[in-house]
Symmetry: C2
Subunit: 166 residues, 2 copies
């Protein structure tokens, strides 16, 4: 990938972080770079290609955050939640809706999932349940679905405790 392409992806990340998925349009992206929208198509075939690069970048960041955490459920859950709250729009783009697997680097998805599998002693089925819990907590929190004033820390603790006994 050329240097210019990297700059484009970087700008795209900023747009998503600041304004959510919908803020990433070819026009807005071009404007941020000081060029015109059609010029982007000299670097990427279409918008989906740009989006895929943003997703890949976010997944790498999340994977790094999880790998840096201690190999216990509680620490992993904390790191997961922290990433999602720090980058809510990136988390959404990366984790909600269909994933363009063909456009992503091989093994990246697996890499992001690995820390949880290890924390669950290699039990992939249980790891999936834990992942679903964490994803559900994050999405409900980001979407403002819990009642105002709900004890979310408590809910996280309850979930982590439940799965720790597994």
């Amino acid at each position: 990938m050329s240097e210019r392409s990297r700059q484009i992806v970087e700008a795209a990340v900023c747009l998503v972080e600041e304004g959510g998925t919908e803020a990433l349009t070819m026009r807005a992206l071009a404007e941020r770079l000081g060029i015109r929208a059609p010029s982007l198509y000299k670097h990427f075939p279409d918008k989906a290609a740009v989006e895929a690069e943003v997703i890949a970048l976010a997944m790498r960041d999340l994977a790094r955050a999880l790998e840096a955490a201690k190999d216990e459920l509680e620490a992993l859950a904390g790191a997961y939640r922290a990433y999602a709250l720090a980058h809510p729009h990136l988390y959404r783009l990366m984790s909600a809706g269909p994933l363009p697997r063909e456009r992503l680097p091989d093994g990246l998805e697996e890499r992001a999932a690995l820390p949880v599998v290890r924390a669950m002693g290699g039990e992939r089925v249980a790891a999936r349940a834990v992942w679903a819990f964490a994803h559900g907590m994050v999405m409900l929190e980001l979407d403002g679905r819990f009642p105002p004033g709900a004890d979310l820390d408590g809910a996280w603790r309850a979930g982590v405790a439940a799965f720790s006994r597994t």
Copy 2:
């Protein structure tokens, strides 16, 4: 609400069920009813009002399905998942993204949540964790996020088992 308004909401539900959230447009809705889009504004002030009625209807259906299930976590989880898989687009519209609470009937959200709270012996914090698990499982399944061939029944069992020991 007039009879005509009810017909409009019913048509809107069909559009969502068949084509997802994006398929619900004022033009498509009008066409399905054999009228022109501007005529809809004689019955509803804007699109959000129609959408809110669809959401309310879906929440009532889900609440009924949960109330009909046995008062145990396993049965509730089964009913929850069954509803979501039977009406994936309605589930999404109702459960993902911000909720227009001002436009919904009082107490409806609470009603839908109650069965889980009861199954958890009144522990609202634990009930929220269970809800997050179920929501996460459903969304990851609907979004095709699990690896192909993953044992989802097993993941559901693992989650239900973990929270049952609470």
